[in-house]
Each structure stands twice: as structure tokens, then as C-alpha cells.
């Protein structure tokens, strides 16, 4: 075959499917060295084909240079160094903002702060109530059989009371807050990056960390210990439900034992944990939000990263605090 011609005398209505087919035919013919005669094509088809071929070929970036293992290792180290500098810079700005708050140089907008407290604290109460109660039930339920076998049902109060007050209450609160509030902070700040709101603060001479990060961190740091106490309470209520319904204890016996065995020091340990977790979740949520790129996908990634970072940091901190309390024989 030497020449491709078109006879469209019988052609009725057509759509872009015809264009695709004809373009494919022409491309294949040209590749095979066959001469193409387009004169038989309808004028409109010819015009559209011309228009399609007139689109300039996208200039693709040159293939990235393939680095040796040493080069790749160097790139990774530089990446880690850059990220570390970024995190340290953020921490520095946060410290300056808190110092400014203490010395009275930085003002908090109290109406907005009140709304933040409501959003972070009050609106978290239903989920905290549910999760706290369920954790108390789960802890007590797991020990029902063993306690019965040993005939020491009363120890359910020790088990639930001490573990919730010392550690579990703070940990569960932190995980709920990481998923609920840390993620929300990252999403809010990320969206502000997309909308150029953070740029607008910067050019206006209002440090974004002072205006956006400081009140959020302060709200979460204040609220986390309070919510932890609330979780502790409902964890013990959950344990009490199991004690009364499955271990045949009276509510008075359960509560009396709780009061006997759970010391203030246990609550204090839980609150120390909660304070540290609050700082970490607030830092992770705000940092990831401020680091967010300027697209919807980037905001999603920042939110995911905030939750993952918060939970990992919380668990590491929990382990470290456990070791410290153990060394201090608390």
C-alpha cells in the first residue's frame, strides 16, 4: 500500500470518535511511510485535526540524573537536615510566641480563644464520654474470669482505677484528641496556606505563629488534662458497670475500694502524661498544617501526617514517662 485516501461520501453524523480513528490511521500510515491524502475528509474534520496537531508538544523535563548510592545517601541526609532545621525553626517561633504571651508582648484575641476552647474541649465531651466508658468496661471485662476464679472480684476497682488514672485515661484522651483536634488544626492551617491567608498575615507584619498557632496550642494544652480527668471518671464508671452487673459487687463497695486504692499521686502521674501529650499533639497538628503545600491533596497529606506524628510521639512519650516514673519509684 502506497497511499491512504478517504472517501466520506456516505458519512452521516459524526463525533470525536471519528477524529480519533482518523488521527490514528494517519499516524500509523505516516509511521509506515504511506502517503496520506486528506482531501477526501470533510472540511470540519480537517480543521479539527489541524487544531489538534497545532497543540505544541509538551516539553518534558530532562530525565533526572541517576545518582550513585553515595549521592542518594547524601540527598537523604540533606533532606533530613532541612526538615530538622524547619522543625527547630518552628519550635523557636513557638517558644518566642509563648515567651511573648508571658511577658505581655503578645496579645491573645479572647473571643476567638473562647471559641477554640469550646471547639477543642466542650465539643469533644460526647466522644470522650463514650470512649472513656468503653475503655473502663473493656479493662474490667478482660479480667472478669480470672478475678472470679481467684475470688477477688473487689480487685476490679484496683485494676480499673489505677490503670485509668495513671496511664490509660491520658493515653486514650490523647489518641482521641490526635484524631479529632490535631487533625483539625492541620486541616485548618493547611487550608489557610491554600487560601493565602498565612501569606496575608506575613505581609501584614502579624506573625502567623502568634496569631494562629499560639491560641490553638494554648487551648489544647489547657484542655488535655481536663479532658483526661473526665476520661478517668468515665473509665471508672465503665469499670463500675462491669463490677455491678458481672461481678456481683455493690456500687458502694466498688466506689469505696476505688477511694481506698487510687491515690492522688496516680492522678498526678496521669495529668503529667496528659500535659506532655497535649503539647506534642498541638505541636504536631500545627507544624504539619504550617508545612502544608498549596493544594487539596497537600492538605489531606498534612492532616494524615499530623495524626500519625501525634500518635507516634504520644506513644514514645508514654514509654519514656513510664521509665522516668519507674526510676523515680512512683
Amino acid at each position: 500500500m502506497h497511499r491512504l485516501t478517504f472517501d466520506t461520501a456516505q458519512l452521516g453524523a459524526w463525533d470525536t470518535g471519528l477524529l480519533t480513528f482518523v488521527q490514528h490511521l494517519i499516524d500509523e500510515s505516516e509511521r509506515a511511510g504511506v502517503e496520506v491524502d486528506r482531501t477526501g475528509l470533510p472540511v470540519d474534520v480537517e480543521k479539527l485535526l489541524e487544531l489538534a496537531s497545532a497543540v505544541p508538544t509538551r516539553v518534558t523535563a530532562p530525565e533526572p540524573v541517576r545518582l550513585s548510592w553515595l549521592g542518594r545517601a547524601g540527598t537523604v541526609v540533606i533532606g533530613i537536615g532541612t526538615a530538622a532545621v524547619e522543625v527547630l525553626g518552628f519550635l523557636g517561633e513557638v517558644c518566642v510566641a509563648f515567651a511573648g504571651l508571658v511577658t505581655g508582648k503578645v496579645k491573645i484575641r479572647w473571643p476567638q480563644f473562647g471559641l477554640l476552647l469550646y471547639e477543642v474541649g466542650v465539643r469533644a465531651l460526647p466522644i470522650i464520654t463514650l470512649v472513656g466508658t468503653l475503655i473502663g468496661i473493656i479493662l474490667a471485662f478482660g479480667a472478669v474470669v480470672q478475678l472470679r476464679q481467684l475470688g477477688v472480684q473487689i480487685f476490679v476497682a484496683d485494676l480499673v482505677g489505677i490503670s485509668v488514672a495513671r496511664e490509660v485515661g491520658a493515653l486514650i484522651t490523647a489518641i482521641v484528641l490526635a484524631g479529632r483536634t490535631g487533625a483539625a488544626f492541620a486541616a485548618q492551617l493547611g487550608s489557610m496556606q491554600v487560601n493565602e491567608e498565612i501569606d496575608a498575615l506575613t505581609t501584614a507584619g502579624i506573625p502567623p505563629v502568634q496569631f494562629l498557632v499560639l491560641p490553638r496550642m494554648l487551648a489544647l494544652i489547657l484542655v488535655t488534662p481536663l479532658l483526661t480527668m473526665y476520661t478517668d471518671l468515665f473509665g471508672m464508671v465503665g469499670g463500675g458497670l462491669v463490677a455491678v452487673t458481672m461481678l456481683d459487687l455493690s456500687l458502694t463497695t466498688y466506689v469505696t475500694r476505688l477511694v481506698q486504692v487510687v491515690a492522688l499521686a496516680d492522678f498526678a502521674m496521669g495529668l503529667v502524661r496528659a500535659s506532655v501529650f497535649g503539647v506534642l499533639i498541638a505541636l504536631a497538628g500545627c507544624l504539619r498544617g504550617m508545612q502544608s503545600g498549596r493544594s487539596a491533596t497537600a492538605v489531606g497529606l498534612a492532616t494524615t501526617s499530623a495524626v500519625v506524628t501525634s500518635i507516634v510521639l504520644t506513644i514514645i512519650a508514654d514509654g519514656l514517662l513510664g521509665m522516668i516514673f519507674s526510676v523515680l519509684r512512683l
Binding site: 491554600v194 501569606d199 505581609t203 507584619g205
Partner: protein, 261 residues
């Protein structure tokens, strides 16, 4: 009819000088060797096709992105080698209207304007409230003081962003694609407002736009950024460039012709 100054008059030393500026994101170079000046009380238009780096140039001019090379000078003082306090003082003279308006979403329109007055003036609460209402009225938003940005239309957001940019009576006003999302009448009103600001208050205005009608209606001076050659292809009074384009790409842009390939 919107009036324009007859040509770019010499109004003294440059207010803004861009010196041998290279703009890049990592290895991706957007523009090279940009050098031009903006004179006081001039309306300077940065024009060019999509992807030519117009908005990025604005980010360099307002201190949001450091240049890969070169510098930006405000009244002869370097923006990028200035210490943070000096840079903050330079930026205090500037108002910016962003492409996406960038209104602070947790604040009402009046609070958006008032925040700057609260931070940087000694005005009392009542005076700030009145001043914010006045700035909003100036852009036709009287009665919308207590609305949040999400509760008003795109055009109203744009006007509120302008009111916020004018809050501290800036000497220099930057506008990034100000007519985007505006109907033709609102766009024309905005052009008139920009001219009034220049004529009445002597404000220097830098407008990033590809709105041809607006460029010709208000521009005293301009620069054309080309995404292919990655440099400024034309510089001068946009009316003169329209009458006598220096090359085919500038002609195609200003006359809405097919792009030469």
C-alpha cells in the same frame, strides 16, 4: 470613562527597583534577569501569559519568596538583605490584594480590616470600628461588616480584600489578578478606584493581570513576562506597546491574536 495619565511621568526616584532578579522553584527557572523600576504614584502593570511567573514576581516583591539571584529595593533599600525589623517596616508601607483574596476566614469582614488597625495603630475600639466600616463603604460593602468571608460572593470578597489592603493607607498597593471573578461593571469600578487612589492619595500601584481592558485603562508603565524565553520581553507604557509591539509574542498578547508558533 476611566482616565489615565498621558504617559509614565518622571515622578522622582524609583519607589521599587527590581535588579537582575532570577526567580526559580528549585531547578525550575521561571524568569531570569528581570530589571525594572516602579516610580512613585505610578500604576505599574505586570502582564504575561499563564505560567510566566507574574504572581511569583509579586511574591518576591512583597517579601514572601527569596530571589534565586538579584534583589528588590524599596526607595533604594534592599528588601532581601534588610534585617527583620527593617523589612517589617518596609512591609508596613504596603497593602496586598491576593489572587484568592486571602481574607482571614475566622473573622468577619469588618474584623479583617480592624485587625490591622488594632495591631498597628493607637486608635480606640470605637474609632477602629468606624474606620473599618468606612473602608468597607469605600469599596461598596456598607452593611456587610458582620458577614464572614464565606457568606459573601467572590466579587464582594475581592472588594473586602481591597478594603483590608487599604486599612493602613499604604503607600504601595499590590494587586494580584484583581479582576478575576468580577463582572465587567465591578471590574471597571475597581479600575476607577485604583485610579482614584493613585490620583487622590498618590498611591503607587503594582497590578499583576492579564486583563487587556484593565491594562490599557489604568496602566502607566508595564513589563511583559514571557514563559518561553523566561525573561521580560517588553517594558514600557502599555498603550505604546499596543500601538507598536516590539515583537510577535507581545503583539499576539496585546491584540488577542493566535500565538505565533
Amino acid at each position: 470613562m476611566a482616565s489615565t495619565s498621558p504617559s509614565a511621568p518622571d515622578r522622582g526616584a524609583p519607589r521599587i527597583s527590581v535588579v537582575d532578579l532570577d526567580m526559580a522553584y528549585g531547578d525550575l527557572v521561571l524568569q531570569r534577569n528581570l530589571s525594572f523600576t516602579v516610580r512613585p504614584a505610578e500604576i505599574f502593570v505586570v502582564m504575561g501569559g499563564s505560567g510566566s511567573g507574574k504572581s511569583t514576581l509579586l511574591r518576591h516583591l512583597v517579601g514572601l519568596k527569596a530571589p534565586a539571584r538579584g534583589d528588590v529595593l524599596y526607595d533604594g533599600q534592599s528588601l532581601w538583605t534588610a534585617d527583620p525589623t527593617e523589612r517589617e517596616a518596609m512591609m508596613r508601607r504596603v497593602g496586598v490584594v491576593y489572587q484568592r483574596n486571602a481574607l482571614w476566614s475566622s473573622l468577619t469582614l469588618a474584623e479583617n480590616v480592624a485587625l490591622l488597625l488594632e495591631e498597628f495603630t493607637d486608635l480606640g475600639e470605637g474609632e477602629i470600628r468606624d474606620a473599618a466600616a468606612l473602608k468597607l463603604a469605600l469599596v461598596g460593602l456598607a452593611g456587610f461588616e458582620d458577614y464572614y468571608p464565606s457568606e459573601v460572593s467572590g466579587g464582594m470578597e475581592k472588594r473586602a480584600a481591597l478594603a483590608r489592603a487599604l486599612a493602613l493607607a499604604p503607600e504601595i498597593l499590590f494587586l494580584d489578578e484583581p479582576s478575576t471573578g468580577l463582572d465587567p461593571i465591578s471590574a471597571r469600578l475597581l479600575d476607577d478606584l485604583i485610579l482614584d487612589l493613585r490620583d487622590g492619595l498618590g498611591t503607587t500601584v503594582v497590578v499583576v493581570t492579564h486583563d487587556l481592558a484593565s491594562i490599557q485603562a489604568i496602566g502607566d508603565n508595564s513589563v511583559f513576562l514571557d514563559p518561553e524565553t523566561k525573561t521580560m520581553m517588553a517594558h514600557g507604557d502599555p498603550k505604546a506597546l499596543l500601538a507598536d509591539p516590539p515583537n510577535a509574542r507581545v503583539r499576539a498578547f496585546l491584540h488577542r491574536e493566535s500565538v505565533p508558533r
